[in-house]
Homo-oligomer: 259 residues x 2
């Protein structure tokens, strides 16, 4: 090992769109300029997998390539499994940073709850690893990622330099490319919105009913301090996120019930 | 419809251990004393599914029974899918309450993040439905649920009477049966613990390596205000839980980076 290897941070990369997604390819290109990169991603799309882990079937890990500063693996697991395999089986220790994405589609607002991309970030955070999720507000496979490099680089360098407090990770959402340039970066809170489900119910050729999950995003939280507002107004949003789900403000209320 | 029907609350029940688990059967028995009950649960175990939703395959919903005050359905989806199907396809509206469980195994501490049981509760909470998750600190299929009725009943009646603030739901964990009676109920915060993974790596008959996800629970957070402490000391724990993951205390820190 030479000296330049020693100072380069080890960066673990995963996503939830699968190893073949242009978003993770872009993130790999950016991170290879910053550190030694290890990729562990899923062999199929894992969008909407939330914080799922695989406990009923065994996990298989395949080596795609292994170079001194770049290793890539794919597995049959979820994004959270990828983080666990990356730490325990590949690195056999902790990376200096985990980045997840770039997701094809926004993970702002309530999407953070359903997102495999952000679940991977939370998983690393639980393990004490500084972690950032990057998502682009464009769901298409052919999304244009050409305008995001400088934002991802500056946020990543800052996190490597400053670290993050234990229990806190970052949810970064980037506007889709448009004719107007991005206006800057806003540090925000998660907007309070929800998906209103509208199942698309059909009948198969044998007459049995089935339901496709679909829905529309409904955001009543229009204040200017939210991630959704930032994205819609062409800012990059950063929400510091935590895995402590305790609603501290409600503890006294429930105590007052004298159960 | 008679008058007694009108005043009875509609209670949607789901779980993550599957429709055949003794835990959900116990919860159904308790809730049928309190309201009109609609059960939508998975046709197979869904432990560790977190907030996963099913978007790549269609959902199938089968009617198990349909009586005036009791309906039961099973589906091929996750616990979150069960809540969505229950609201949109079965009830075509909102129940007065959602309860999930009784989970075979604790969902205290960091388990709340991986739990399908609690994901169902959070999903209902996002939709503005008062929601409670019940879990027993005993993973076995043959767990003894005979000591929990009065606690589940009193918490449920209280939530029906008082409601819950928007954005807040309850994570209730019950001690496993033991020679000592339960000491009471504690309102707590989520303990800061984690699972330390220890993959069980093996080779299949053809020589290919595979990995079983396993691990041990590591809790360094030993203070007496946590759910883990309450459970270990034979109290029922209640943690008020929220789906807003914003780490508000870190917003100024990240703003201070001047990105």
């Amino acid at each position: 090992m030479n000296n330049s290897n020693k100072v380069k941070p080890t960066i673990l990369i995963t996503n939830d769109d699968g190893y073949f997604a242009p978003g993770i390819r872009k993130l790999i290109t950016i991170m290879r300029k910053i550190g030694r990169v290890i990729v562990v991603s899923s062999d199929q799309p894992m969008s909407g997998m939330g914080h799922a882990i695989t406990i009923k079937t065994p996990l298989r890990l395949k080596t795609v390539c292994k170079e001194p500063e770049y290793e890539e693996y794919i597995c049959n697991g979820t994004p959270v499994d990828c983080v666990k395999l990356g730490e325990q089986v590949v690195i056999k220790g902790k990376p200096d940073l985990l980045v997840s994405g770039i997701n094809h589609g926004s993970n702002a607002s309530i999407n953070v709850i359903y997102s495999g991309t952000m679940a991977a970030v939370l998983e690393a955070c639980i393990d004490g690893i500084p972690a950032i999720g990057f998502s682009l507000n464009d769901y298409s496979h052919d999304a244009d990622f050409s305008h995001v490099d400088s934002y991802i680089e500056s946020i990543t360098h800052k996190v490597i330099k400053e670290g993050l407090p234990q229990g806190i990770c970052l949810n970064v959402n980037l506007p889709a490319i448009s004719e107007s340039p991005i206006k800057g970066i806003k540090v925000c809170r998660q907007s309070h919105a929800r998906w209103v489900e509208e199942f698309d119910s059909r009948h198969d050729p044998r007459g049995a009913e089935y339901h496709w999950l679909t829905g529309r995003f409904e955001n009543d939280d229009t204040r200017e301090d939210t991630d959704q507002w930032a994205l819609e107004n062409n800012f990059v949003s950063i929400v510091p996120v935590q895995y402590d789900l305790t609603a501290y403000k409600a503890i006294d209320l429930v105590k007052g019930w004298n159960l």
